[in-house]
Each structure stands twice: as C-alpha cells, then as structure tokens.
C-alpha cells in the first residue's frame, strides 16, 4: 500500500494548542513540508515569536530559539551570522512584526539579511485576547477598538509587503492566504521559494500569510475563512510584490 | 626629574592629543610608567582639546591631574584654564605666536616660543607642537631625544616616516630655543 499523506518529519508529534479554525496549524505544516522537501531540517533554525505561536518550538523538529516580542529578525540575524550555511526563519504575528518589532523587521530587510520571515497577518492580537493590531481593518471591532477602528483615532492598517518591497535588501516579498485549498497550495510554493532564495544567498525573503482568528474575531471557523476572502484580501491584495522572476 | 605630570592644551587640530601620545609612548620606551588621558566628547569638536600625561618611575595612580608639574599651552583660553594648577617650581611653556599674555605666576619657570610662526617658516605648521615638546624634554629631561625619535617611528604610519628627520629638526629647534 502506498502512503499518500503523512505528517511531515519536520513536525513533532505534539498536539497543537491552537483554537479550532485557527490557521496557524496549516502555516506550521506548510513550513514543515517545505523543510522536508528541501531536505534541510538538520540545517534549519527557527525563531519563535511572542504571540499565540510563542511556543511553536515544540512543534518543529529543527533547532528553535524563542525571541522577545518583535525581536525575532534581530535574533535571526545573530543566528545566521554565526552559521551562514544554516537556514534561519522567523515566524511572527502582526503585533510582533508590524508594531513592536517594526524597527527590527525593516532593518533586517534593509541589510538584506539572508533569512526567511513567515509573517502571520490575522488583523488582531490573539494571545492577549483580541486587541487592535497594526493590521486591524478600518471598522473592525476589537477589545481596544470597541467601536471599530477609526482612521481619525487609530490610523490605518499597515501594509507590510508594500512597505518592505521598497527596500533593496528585500529580494522576495509575497502575500498569500490560507482561506481555501488553492490558496494554501500557493502559500506553500511561496514559502518554498522564499527558502530557496535564502539558499541562493540572494537576500531577505518574506511571505505574508493572511490567517484566521475565529476566537477573537467572534466568527465561526468557516465564516472566518470567508472573512479573509471578503474583508481582508481587498485591503491586503494577494500576489508577488518582489522577486517573481528570480530563478531559484 | 623622574616624575612628570604634564598637561598639554590648545585648540582641536593643533596636534594636542598626538603630542601627548608621542610623549607617553617615548616614556614607555624609556621603561617608565605612563598614562595619557584626553578630554573627550563634544568639547573636542572645534573647541579646546587637552590631555593629561603622566610619566613616572612609580606606578601611575589616578590618570586625572589635579596639579601638573608642566603645562604646555597653545592658545590663550588654555593658559587661563590651567595656569593655576601648575605646581610651585613647575614650568609653563607657551606658544607665544598664539598666546599673547604672560602667565601671572611668579613661582614657575616660563618659556615662550613662537612655535606656530616658526613651524610655518619651516614649511609645516603641524610641527608647532613638536617644537614646544622640544623645550619640555630639554628642561625636564623626562625622556631622551632618542626615545622621542623612536616613539615617532612607532606612532606614525609608515607613509609619514619620511617626515621624521624634519620633525626631529623641529624638536631640536625647541630644545635649543632661547628668548
């Protein structure tokens, strides 16, 4: 009998703690599949963020380093500079990357650090229970924008791919979504390409992954996927912002 | 004298700090204990510069000088600032082309040399500090001329070594200058 589907080797057997309908688990699996397919588990070091994925080091079989809130790109810089032949990736949420860690992500990109960033954008703070994120949509209700995000009070959503793609050091920038099978497949190829860009030593690569947070959005899991499609994608258009034609 | 506490002071750009450094280096070559402490920070930029140099047979305690046995001044404000801390019986050497007034102190030896003017005449205004150091080592005997030359070789980059004979001439001018 042929095995047609199995857990990637790069994932541990530990049961994940994420809420029902949360897409963190899918994102983890895609990264692990890519690590397996590229055969780089033994040479990969991941950096865990602060946020719901704070302890995702227990889910990956590669070496992992847990970082302070927002500092993953700086930590990854240190790791990569010591062992330039290793693959280093960070896994960061929108509060981590686009609020408290803005300086670190911008400058890691500016320096063209040869790391891969997986940026989970679900438009809300999950772990601290549903506060407004820098990527929260206009009108979106959160525990700290109880009457909806208002531009005059809270400003506008941060568009990370658009921002980082202006920097020369960022060579591969792509936004993907996990709301359906077709997009999940696209997400995987983007993550794979990002790792290949790192392998080729071309510079900084980032994949922004539009993700769901049914619990803090107050929407059921299926509805949450619809919400990504209907509400998030118009604000955060999918596609490649940089490095589409890189041959890797 | 086996022990000298020297303050060299003037404008940034007059070679104040490097004069002190060569002196300390020469002291080290003479197997003395030495320290060199510069003024640092914003006051250096376009303002005054000074350094404290200690050359001693004994271990150097504090590198900060509350009193000095010798003072070299290359501008007026430096004389105003440091004249009072020269020990009785100590010496003040001033660049008389830039420091107009004479020290008020009567209990110290004062030497005035128009070092900047002479350095211009020698074709290199950066020698003014060397001329003044010449007088210092002649009067105090704290280091030898030979150690000074050796220190120049050690502290100057190789591409500037061709200047050493001229620098030694400047040093000797200072040593033998009498007003």
């Amino acid at each position: 009998m042929d095995t047609v589907f199995k857990k990637p080797h790069a994932l541990t057997d530990t049961t994940m703690h994420y809420c029902p309908g949360c897409t963190h688990g899918i994102a983890h699996r895609l990264i692990a599949e890519v690590i397996d397919e590229l055969g780089i588990e033994g040479k990969t070091v991941g950096v865990s963020p602060v946020g719901c994925a704070y302890n995702n080091y227990i889910y990956f079989n590669c070496d992992m380093v847990q970082a302070a809130h927002g500092r993953a790109p700086a930590v990854a810089t240190g790791i990569k500079r010591v062992h330039p032949d290793n693959f280093v990736f960070t896994y960061q949420g929108d509060g981590d990357l686009a609020a408290i860690g803005t300086a670190e992500i911008v400058h890691a990109a500016t320096r063209g650090e040869k790391i891969t960033v997986i940026f989970i954008n679900n438009a809300i703070y999950g772990m601290t229970s549903g506060q407004m994120a820098p990527t929260t949509l206009i009108g979106q209700v959160t525990t700290t924008s109880p009457f909806g995000r208002k531009p005059e009070l809270h400003g506008y959503p941060v568009k990370v791919c658009e921002l980082l793609s202006t920097l020369e050091g960022a060579v591969y920038v792509e936004r993907v979504s996990l709301h359906d099978v077709k997009n999940i497949k696209n997400a995987k190829s983007a993550i794979k390409k990002a790792f290949k860009v790192q392998a080729a030593g071309l510079g900084f690569s980032i994949v922004e992954v539009l993700s769901s947070c049914p619990t803090n959005w107050g929407i059921n899991p299926v509805g949450a996927l619809e919400w990504i499609k209907d509400k998030m994608i118009p604000v955060y258009p999918l596609g490649n912002f940089k490095g589409k034609d890189l041959e890797v | 004298m086996a022990d000298q506490q020297i303050i060299i002071s003037g404008f940034g750009g007059q070679g104040i700090l490097s004069a002190g450094r060569i002196l300390a280096y020469a002291g080290m070559l003479e197997k003395k204990n030495v320290s060199w402490l510069p003024s640092y920070g914003p006051e250096m930029r376009g303002g005054t510069a000074n350094c404290h140099v200690i050359i001693s047979d004994e271990a150097v305690g504090s590198p900060i000088l509350n009193s000095a046995t010798s003072l070299i001044v290359m501008n007026g404000p430096s004389l105003d600032k440091f004249e009072g801390i020269v020990e009785s019986g100590g010496i003040i050497i001033k660049d008389s082309s830039l420091v107009e007034r004479d020290p008020n102190r009567k209990d110290v030896q004062v030497y005035g040399i128009p070092a900047t003017k002479v350095a211009f005449e020698m074709g290199n205004p950066t020698f003014a500090n060397i001329i003044l150091l010449g007088k210092l080592i002649e009067v105090t005997k704290i280091i030898s001329k030979e150690a000074f030359e050796e220190a120049l070789k050690k502290t100057l980059p190789a591409k500037k070594h061709h200047m050493i004979p001229d620098e030694m001439k400047a040093l000797e001018y200072g040593m033998h200058y009498s007003a």
Partner: protein
C-alpha cells in the same frame, strides 16, 4: 609575555575580545565607547568575523541573543542610556542561560545626562536592571592592563556558567592610554556547547533556547537552578584587591577609576601619619563580602568613595554588618573627586 603597547582602554577591550576568540560583535554608536565599534569594524573584516551596526541597542542585544544561541562567543558594548535599552535582552539572555559579554562604559545620568565618567549604573548592573530574578557577573577593571585581562576572563566565565559577564568601566578608563602587555597565547577555556542551536544535522534531538515556562512548578524549578548557579559563582568567582588594610585607621572602598585616585590618597595620607587601607572590589557582583568580614574589626570606620549618589555603599554596609560606621563620599555629573577632597573627608571622619 608579548610586546608592550600603548593603547586606549576601549581599543584594548576590543583587542582582548578578539584574542578571547570572539568573532561576532553587534552594537550601536554611543559616546564614550565608540572606539570599540571602530576597532571591531576594521578587525572583523580582516578576520572574517561579524560586525553589525544594529538599528538600536535593543536590536543589538537581541542579535547577541541569537549569536549566543548559535554557540558563538559574542560581544556588545554601549554606555548607560544604551545599556538601559539592552535590559530587555539581558533579562532574556539570563532566562535562557546564554553566555555573552556586555561592556558598559558608564556615563552620567539620569536621562541623556552627560558623557563624562560616572559609576551611577552600579545598582542597574548588580541588582538586576531588567525584570526577574537574575544576576550578571560584573567586572570592574581599574587599569588598561586589567581591561585586557578581565575581558578575556569575562568570556571564560560567561561560557563556564552560561551567564552574562559585564565589563563596567567609565570614560576615563575607556579613553585613556596606558601600557598593555598582551600574552602570546590566551587561556581560552573550551566549553562544550551541546545545547546550542547549530542545526541538528539529523544526528540529535532538536535543541530549544527559551526563557518562557508557563507552568509555575517548572518555572520555579528553573529559578531555583539559576539561584544555585549564582550561589556557585559567588563562591568561585569573587575577585577583590586589598591594599594596606592590616593596620588601617580607615578602610576606603572604591572600584574602577576611583580606586586609582584612592591609591594616591593613601600616599598623601601616609605623609600625614594617617593609615588608609583600600578594598577594591574587582567583581561588583559577586560582591567580596568575605573581604569586608575579614577586615571589619580593623579600622575605626569605612568610607565608600563613588562617582554617584551612594550605591555600592549599601553593599558595603551589608558586608560590614554594623561592626563599624560606614561613610560615603561621592561626586556626580561627571565631576571627579580630587585627592585632597577625599583626604579631607578621611580627616573629618577621623577627627584629625
């Protein structure tokens, strides 16, 4: 021993780190320690090491965290306001038990303060600074030669115990030139770092570097393990210099630059028939408590002289434990006490 060189304190720190095998430096410019970065920028290029001018001190200390995780000997340097920014990272490094060396060439505060010498970060360095129960080994050199020797040793201590070693100096020490004699070969302790995240190479279980333990029982155990380590360090790594203490009328205690001034005071006092001793803590943490216990009955009083409003004096009082009066004399804002000022204070205490 090798050749004698006349070098600036800051440059000697950098050279010592290189000699100790450090090939990774991360920093952000701040006076009065920038010569360390200048030296590293040049030398790391020659040696094929890493020099990164980070976007902030916060980023720099987190790069240190990453490089230390990956098993490297790593250095960052800064001065007081920058060290405040590094506190987050220092707490994480302590929690994750990573070895690293941090230099603080202290300037006067609070706030932006000034750039002149001070010792006002004593509390920050020895009592925590960042959040949580942790310690750093804090080394306080008082000469350029000692900057060299203690910087090399700082790397050994850091690796031996998986802890941060801090070199604490001031602008005088960093900026001054003094003779330094480098050894032909350094004593570099080889420590097996089988915990480092260097990639599993598919030959071992994966390593994790973390400071988060959500379960209280586990976090308490982790803390107990840290405390046991700190106790061991206190036992093994305390360093102190005592001078003229055996029959002193008064024992002055001072560290770093100030201890040099006090040595001059001792000579001045001798001429006036006053016997002054000196206890100079070389490790500010662990504090040389036993040395104070040893001499607590000897003098009429103790006097702590510091470039701050009175910080180490609290540890001196704890160590002297009420056996003798403990006095304090300090200057702030970059002012340096003269020898005469200190001698006058001694005479006042001794009623002479």
């Amino acid at each position: 021993m090798g050749e004698k060189l006349l070098m600036k304190g800051n440059e000697v720190i950098a050279e010592a780190a290189l000699r100790a095998g450090c090939r990774h430096y991360f920093g952000y410019p701040i006076t009065p320690q920038t010569e360390i970065a200048h030296y590293m920028a040049k030398k790391m290029n020659e040696l094929g090491g890493t020099f990164v001018q980070a976007e902030s001190e916060v980023a720099a200390i987190n790069m240190v965290y990453g490089a230390a995780s990956a098993g490297a000997r790593v250095l960052t340097s800064s001065s007081s306001p920058g060290i405040s920014l590094k506190q987050e990272g220092l707490s994480y490094i302590a929690g994750a038990e990573l070895p690293a060396v941090v230099v603080n060439i202290v300037r006067c505060g609070p706030g932006l303060g000034g750039i002149l010498p001070a010792q006002c970060d004593y509390f920050q360095a020895v009592k925590g600074g960042g959040h949580g129960d942790y310690k750093m080994v804090v080394l306080a050199p008082s000469s350029v030669q000692e900057l060299y020797e203690l910087t090399v040793e700082a790397f050994n201590i850091a690796d031996r115990y998986r802890i941060v070693s801090m070199i604490m100096g001031d602008g005088i020490l960093g900026q001054m030139m003094e003779v330094v004699e480098f050894k032909d070969k350094e004593n570099i302790e080889k420590v097996e770092k089988n915990w480092a995240t260097t990639g599993t190479q598919m030959k071992r279980e994966h390593n994790t570097i973390t400071s988060i333990y959500i379960e209280p029982e586990i976090l308490e155990k982790h803390n107990q393990k840290l405390q046991a380590k700190f106790a061991l360090i206190a036992e093994k790594e305390t360093r102190v210099e005592s001078y003229n203490c055996e029959d002193a009328d008064i024992i002055v205690t001072a560290f770093g630059t100030v201890a040099r001034i006090v040595k001059n005071v001792i000579k001045m006092a001798q001429k006036e028939g006053i016997k002054v001793g000196l206890i100079r803590p070389i490790t500010l943490w662990p504090f040389p408590v036993k040395e104070f216990e040893k001499y607590a009955d000897v003098p009429k009083a103790f006097l702590s002289v510091e470039l701050n409003a009175g910080q180490m004096v609290e540890d001196v009082k704890l160590a002297v434990n009420g056996k003798r009066p403990v006095h304090f004399y300090g200057r702030m804002g970059g002012m340096i006490p003269t020898q005469k000022e200190i001698l006058d204070k001694i005479k006042e205490i001794l009623n002479k």
